[in-house]
Symmetry: C2
Subunit: 141 residues, 2 copies
Amino acid sequence: MSQPAEGWLERLQTNGYRLTGSRRAVVKIIAGSSKILTPLDVFEQARASHPGIGLVTVYRTLDKLEQLGLIQRVHQPSGCQAFAAALNGHQHLLICQRCGKVRYFSGDHLDGLVGNVEEESGFRVHEHWLQLFGLCNDCRN
Amino acid sequence: MSQPAEGWLERLQTNGYRLTGSRRAVVKIIAGSSKILTPLDVFEQARASHPGIGLVTVYRTLDKLEQLGLIQRVHQPSGCQAFAAALNGHQHLLICQRCGKVRYFSGDHLDGLVGNVEEESGFRVHEHWLQLFGLCNDCRN
DNA sequence: TTACTTGCAAACGTTTTGCACGATT
DNA sequence: AATCGTGCAAAACGTTTGCAAGTAA
């Protein structure tokens, strides 16, 4: 099992959740994936190591992981059902539209822009999304 | 009926679609709205001017308007069912999280950032989303 | 032992489809 | 007149909920 999965299980436990076979299976899948996964993807992959798991449990576990900030929902032009492992701190997403591979990047300099927009619009901005979509090295061929 | 609605109806017609009471009602609602609207919102508002309209027709008309680039789906942390009138050319969204009011802005300088990210990641970027979420002047109180 | 977690079945809200009738061109 | 569009009902889809049985602590 990958490094992050261990930490995730610990986080679940210290937050009062029990460690069960189903939860271990779900955590193992998403924590170890570099691609975005839908609940159904997770369900199908988790069944390999934990055959009796139910889709409902996948949904419930994903909810908890999202609440703990360990995963986040990824919105795309093609749909918004997939999740990716989350990073600490504010990062932006780069997503391969063919295979679903995700990368995070930082280094946007939006403070000035946000200030300008606030002034012109009268809005107060609380959050922003910056996402890049394209094809990864492997999928470009 | 507002100015944009006229142009939208023309666009529908020149693309081979017939002008019907239902379509006029749907176009009138979204073309004239500064807020994002779900299909159900459109349905309820359209019933005022066209009582017999069905929700299915709203869905079908929204599909066509989206294909023609006249409206676009707006993704938010709270959901992705709403649509907004689209602008010509590439613009970014500013959305009020309380009332759904949308504004467009330009002036992002992301070319350099995109170039850096492409170089570091090996991805080829084809599209980007930049969205700001906050509260508009009216909703800040 | 207790409370939490599970999988199943059923319910739910949203969106899509099949179809016969109606309307636009 | 021919084709396209409509509304209804039903189906499909992803997700959530109720519940009795099972399991971690």
